[in-house]
Symmetry: C3
Subunit: 270 residues, 3 copies
């Protein structure tokens, strides 16, 4: 593979994207990303996938618009891009976009298809497709409608304006704005928490969240079913006993809940 | 009843929760809360129910996890907790959580099941269930998904992080952050406004809001039906005539709409 | 027409509302607004409709409550108002409310039915209907439920409180707060961008946004269909070729995307 390189470390796959000059979503990059995501289907050791760009200015510029050429080959490429968005949304692992440059059009759609997204002061997010006579094609307008609401979505789509990471956080385009100087420390704390779970934990919460967004009562039913099943597991009893030993359900919870969880995990893993 | 005490004042039931040491949702507390809520079914004098904790550190720590023991008795207890959430969501009166301490797990689910929730600088909100190998079981993940959106919900559920009242307000976990020093004054203004309505007014708006969140056009249909019915009531004509007499539909509305409403109510009630 | 006056300039219809003394939504104003909106049905020259008030204190005070009189004539008037809200929501052109005064009840419902809404420090938004024994009748509660969520919606509906433009922006009641001193400059930049599109562009994005808010996967399907159709248009190829000539898909995008779009448009229109 030439446009992405993958490094695995402690349950996390770091995917570095490098497709000079501006990290376009060319058919080559799309195919490599799709192949990588599909290769994780039965992987239970990889829990988190982190997408970064090696380009100093661009996370992903946008879809290569030479694919938008009206030919069957071009249309097939556009549909592969649409599959990339679907594949991202349905993968079992937790996907994380770390955005330190421009993410417009398909690039922003890629960001919104990830489960979590963090952006720095160098990041910009936009859906300016209408300037080339097309709408968004990777659920950009769909996600803007659902996250920003009618008015802010229409303004964003009809102006194609760039949004900063802070604006994007307020509009739920990304999860959180993180200054670039603090990003490594932030990820250094966040990623070990996320990658400590089993893949089935991540899948469970992704399924409950997705179902609940579609339909509140279906989500509630699914959640309760998982809850009652998990309550019966031996693993649950073991953790609960250890948790109670370390101050669970006592005053220690007021100021040090995470300490109790840490002591519990240490005893069980130690 | 030993874990809750109820005081009625001017259409408001104040429910003080005291279940030492940390206000756990034990089966005893759950049963007493359920019994109290169900007792309000035909009560038209109580319009608002305010839930507070007498514990200085904890609003409700969380569900008593000794219920999560895989036995039939434990499962039955968990299901009673799930009924508590449903009962809260379907009660006719307006429910208000006043949170001045920790509300995690089932405690935060209780808060989100209430109609309104106010939190102080001592309040913390979290769903850390995954640390004991279970998902949320009282619609915590469901509500996070619908209120926070995919990314922020997954981050909250997979880290189990505490959120302050200000963060919780921004994320729609609670209605409003109110400093503890100002809470009494705030409630002193807010509760008389809320408890002045008839129970049927509260039920009407709760039904329209619930229906609209599920389906926009069903909500619009229901709202219009109520509107046309209510427009025909004699009470409506009486209020409108008095409202017009006190400056309704004049320039007075620009700066003193609430004054016109107050003068109208004074004449009608005086 | 006597309560509204319309001026057309460069694809934009400016609708000035003047219905002394407080810009009530009287049956006369409702009928004139409905007639004007319906007259745009086959108009492809008008792309944007801007609603402003000539009254210094009121955008639209609210529905004329003498219509709420329980008579058949009154009910018919209320239903005409309900049609106004539907007509606004389904019109092909982009509707913009510029709010520099009070917008309560039906006035605020009018604002929320518009696609975009901007409010100044003189604007106030509220749904205080319950004070006259009725619920909202123009989707006020519906929109509050969907935009503010359960708790904040119920608080707003049961208190009838006024919200400032900044609060209204945060709650998605309006698109953006703009100081009155800056409104002309703001619109001077925004409106030419919006009115440069074809009516079919505006219709397309309005349809995708509406569909997506109702159902995410229907929205995604519709978006992809439009995308693939539009990709085949000759106009698209022409723009793409010109865009590539002016630095599209190069480093110029990092700092000057809008410049590339402007150069592209200039060459094509020049």
């Amino acid at each position: 593979m030439s446009t992405i390189s993958v490094t695995n470390r402690q349950g996390i796959a770091f995917v570095d994207i490098d497709n000079a000059p501006v990290n376009l979503l060319t058919i080559n990059l799309i195919n490599e990303l799709n192949a990588f995501i599909l290769s994780l289907k039965d992987d239970r050791d990889t829990k988190v996938v982190v997408f970064k760009s090696l380009n100093p200015d661009f996370f992903l510029a946008h879809l290569d618009i030479t694919l938008i050429n009206g030919t069957p080959g071009g249309q097939a490429g556009c549909i592969e891009f649409s599959h990339l968005i679907s594949n991202l949304k349905t993968m079992k692992q937790l996907s994380v976009a770390v955005v330190d440059g421009v993410a417009r059009g398909g690039g922003n759609e890629f960001v919104m298809a990830c489960d979590l997204a963090y952006g720095t002061e160098n990041a910009f997010f936009a859906q300016p497709e209408l300037y080339i006579n097309i709408p968004t094609g990777g659920q950009g307008a769909v996600q803007f409608a659902r996250r920003l609401g009618k008015g802010k979505a229409l303004q964003a789509l009809l102006t194609g304006a760039d949004y900063s990471a802070e604006q994007a956080e307020a509009l739920n385009i990304i999860t959180q704005a993180v200054p670039s100087a603090e990003m490594d420390a932030f990820l250094g704390e966040m990623l070990p928490i996320l990658s400590a779970w089993e893949v089935r934990d991540i899948m469970m919460y992704k399924e409950i969240v997705k179902t609940s967004i579609e339909n509140e009562s279906s989500g509630a039913e699914l959640e309760l079913r998982y809850f009652l099943e998990r309550a019966k597991e031996e693993k649950t009893q073991l953790i609960i006993n250890t948790f109670l030993k370390h101050g669970g359900q006592t005053e220690r919870e007021a100021k040090d809940m995470q300490g109790i969880f840490a002591d519990t995990a240490n005893e069980l893993n130690g």
